[in-house]
């Protein structure tokens, strides 16, 4: 957080505390961040949505979502902002784009990600290298859309949000970013095995695609 403070001093910091029992709130306040404290654990999607809704309500023009475990290198933030300046509505910090530091993932995760990339390309035509990255910058119109409709499910949230934004006709760009080993906390694979999570994700994608085609029919 200190890094964020110095690297992007003209941004306001908001920390979403997802029902934690540790010192999150006091540490965040000490660092000069506004704290949005959820009454109980909603999971990553709920936390991100709460943060986006805050930004939307307060009239911010842009928002950048940074994971709390320290994996997202604050140096990536200016690059994401540059992408917005260059005309993107949503900028994704990619761990796998050319120019990013090689980021190692387990076999299940790697094959799941490969599958997702292909599926996303089929349903949306987007050629992205990292569809589950949570390191993202949002321009105001996208912020408004997602504050309303950001999905809550773990892992599905990133991809589903991506598709929503794509289907709404916004421009999505990727920026290579470096990832660091997490400073704290465990990987958020939760109780479900990773493979099951990816299956759930596919269901989410299919339902997003289904909603999209139905909406299109309605407007015709």
């Amino acid at each position: 957080m200190k890094e964020l403070r110095t690297l992007v001093p003209d941004f306001d910091l908001v920390v979403v505390d997802d029902g934690s029992t540790d010192a999150t709130v006091s540490i965040a306040r000490a660092a000069g961040a506004r704290v949005v404290r959820l009454p109980f654990n909603l999971g990553v999607g709920g936390a991100v949505r709460a943060g986006l809704r805050w930004a939307e309500q307060r009239g911010y023009d842009r928002a950048v979502v940074v994971d709390a475990d320290g994996q997202h290198d604050a140096h990536g933030v200016p690059a994401l902002i540059d992408a917005l300046d260059a005309g993107a509505d949503l900028a994704i910090g990619s761990r796998f784009a050319p120019g990013a530091d090689p980021y190692r993932v387990g076999a299940v995760r790697a094959s799941g990600m490969r599958l997702l990339r292909v599926v996303v390309r089929i349903v949306s035509g987007l050629r992205l290298t990292d569809v589950t990255s949570g390191f993202r910058a949002f321009d105001r119109p996208v912020l408004e859309l997602l504050a309303r409709e950001y999905p809550a499910e773990y892992l599905a949230d990133t991809v589903e949000a991506l598709l929503m934004v794509a289907y709404a006709g916004f421009r999505i760009d990727e920026v290579p970013v470096a990832m660091r080993p997490r400073a704290g906390g465990r990987p958020s694979s939760r109780s479900l095995p990773l493979a099951a999570n990816y299956l759930r994700l596919l269901i989410a994608i299919l339902s997003a695609g289904y909603r999209h085609t139905r909406q299109r029919k309605d407007t015709e």
Binding site: V16, V36, R37, P39, L42, G46, R53, W54, Q57, R58
Partner: protein, 117 residues
């Protein structure tokens, strides 16, 4: 069916019905769910009183062994109930989540206002 089985089925049906009515009375069960379960009672009770009905229905469907018909319908009905409840639960989770978010945002904005003053 023997007379004893007969009586037991009838007692079970009546007991279930009474239990559900009591839950409604104590406002522990909303009436729409009570209606759901009472429907079962209403459907099962005639079977207990007139066991031959089951055989007649089975013959309609071409089922040779009457209890199978009963189990088939029971499983089908329970399946529908469980799916319905999953759907309700999903909706409740969505509502709960928005309320939690609203609470968090309100808390944060009241803090912000206090600091501005």
């Amino acid at each position: 069916m023997t007379t004893r089985a007969h009586v037991l089925t009838a007692i079970a049906g009546i007991a279930t019905t009474l239990f559900i009515l009591r839950l409604v009375g104590r406002q522990q069960l909303r009436s729409k769910y009570a209606l759901l379960w009472l429907t079962i009672g209403v459907l099962v009770l005639p079977l207990a009183l007139f066991p031959h009905l089951l055989v007649t229905v089975s013959n309609w469907f071409g089922v040779a062994y009457a209890p199978t018909t009963f189990l088939l319908f029971a499983i089908g009905f329970l399946l529908v109930v469980v799916i319905y409840l999953s759907r309700e639960l999903s909706q409740v989770e969505v509502h709960l989540r928005s309320v939690a978010e609203d609470l968090a945002l309100l808390r944060a904005s009241s803090e912000a206002e206090r600091e501005d003053q």
